[in-house]
Amino acid sequence: MIDLSTIPSPLVQIVIGLIGVLAFVGLNGLVCVYLERKVAGHIQRRPGPFEVGPHGILQPLADAVKLVAKQMITPKGADPILYWAAPLISFAPAIACFLPLPFGPKLQNVSINVGLILILAFSSLNVLALCLAGWSSQNKWSLLGAARDIAQSVAYEIPLLLSLLPIILLTGSLNLAEITQTQGPWPWQWLVVKQPLAFIIFFVCVFAETNRAPFDLPEAESELTAGFHTEYSGMGFGLFFLAEYSYMVVGCALASILFLGGYQGPVASGWWWFLLKVYALLLVMMWVRWTYPRVRFDQLLNLAWKWFIPLSLLNILITALVVKL
């Protein structure tokens, strides 16, 4: 790992950082695919991939080769420009979301003062990509998937933002590195102890925002065949897939920075603690996916509007009172 702060020009720093992020995103995609399949396999009492390489470790590579080699089909009657722009719009902001993340004490690409909001803003672009994909596919299932996605994302963005406000109130900063530093290395110094409710609401909202089961309604395969990406083949689908895993990592990274002390940990703080926390949370997401049935659409929205929003507002009120008094 290079100490990024030693590189003089900020522009060069950003370029190197971008390359690093791209490499991380690609590698993370492979690791996540492997993890997901292994987790699913072990939860379902089967070994998971086992043929390609030792313990199937090369399986994600084989998957990637398959996806790249597949023919890219544009459905008849679809809008070709928007149809192929959608996966790119889905994937590109995911890269931007990695820029302000402090991976380690000196391992941060852009130390921006509004890092938290930046991530939230760019991750909200995913909705747009999903809508475009659903609309331009000229497929009714895709359209229904897009409609569900809009309602779901708009509903869950509110409690997601509201659940983060208490953190901002407590730390007085939007800079992710600063927020990390206000917490100590030991678990009882982490913000999750002060804000358990906010953590739960935030983590559930991450499930909904990344369309993970049990909130995977936009692509509910037993209802909408495959929702918004029904028509996509090859790398078009691959990019959506990669974007989904990237957003999952971003969500888990935010959760670990804001609530679990980021790169700080007992004994030796550093990027290893950060990755450990992120992947632990990712495993929880996979565990949930392979365990629960899918909720219904109105139940999902009821959960957001009737429970999470009032609860997070209450949480803000209490936090504000405690902070000021």
């Binding site: 229904l144 995977d216 509910a220 037993s222 392979w290 365990t291 629960y292 899918r294 219904r296």
Partner: protein
Amino acid sequence: MFDLELGLDLSGDFYTRHFQPTPSEDTLILNMGPQHPSTHGVLRVILEIDGEYILRAEPVLGYIHRMQEKMGEVKRYEQYLPNMGRVDYLHALAWNWAYVGAVERLMGLEVPKRAEYIRVITCELNRINSHLLWWGAYLLDLGAFTPIMYAFQDREIVMDILQRVSGSRLTYCYYRFGGVSQDIDDIFIEKTKEFCAYLKPRLKMYKDLVTDNIILRKRVEDIGIIEEETLRKYGATGPVLRGSGIKYDVRRKEPYSVYSELDFEIPTASSKDALGRYLVRMQEIEESLKIIEQALEKIPPGPHISPQAPRRPKPPRGEVYFAVEGARGEIGVNLVSDGSAYPYRVKLRSPSFSNLSMFPEIAKGTLLADAVSILGSLDLVIPEIDR
């Protein structure tokens, strides 16, 4: 293709054009199937939806139609027997039994006691298999991936047991006119007893893990309520009927074979919803285990096939109806013989056919996700509907 004057969409095939609704701005015609993950095979449902609310649902059948009834007329009685395993591939032995039973009734053929018990054991094992698969597939419809893997693990044991006696794993052709094709042995009995002991704690686990899960409960409670009147008018049978609290089971109401000698309950649920049908099926697995255990105790020695059993039956003239309780409901075979080696007419009464015909009525006004849940709770096997 869009006819502006009539406001009708002229694209699509015969059925989409035929089911074209009152033209409206807000509704959308949606083709669910024939290749759709939750129609389990090749069922197609044309839906007219407003948002995600279903205004009208119309199943379109025939994608796996094989004209089984015509085949029955052009094949000899014993030649037609293997077809029965293909009508309902999940509860093949019940169809075996229905056809064999009809021919036996037509000929007045006595079946040895041992054969009857073997039939009961194997048929109930097959029923457990069918219900387990339904359980997994239904949860798959509701978005839970894992249970189907557990169900398949259990099914594997049953299939091994049945393979031992019948030679096949899915589309069995095990029963013969006047008995069964092969006697069971000690290993079969031992393995079946082991399976019964193995499945009971598993069922307990499934209850804790899946049935009591709040998300599942919310997805099935008060979904797809079917009233008694609807059930009667459409002729629904099986767990769909019992899930609405009606205690009708062919094994009890019209006892065939040795079921009258066995002690078992007919589980019913009064909630009338998808949960009721779910619970009825889960309890039926337990009852089937009870039946198997009793039958294994009571099974008498003797021949496994009647010595008078003809290899090529030539039943006398006449007509019979033989009903059997399948995993999905009442299976009926209506045979008409003209005294030759070929049946004059074979009519197969399939329970899924009647159960599915209710779907347009119960799906009306529900959400798309609930329609999937309802469709799953009816436990359809499409080859049985199309025949």
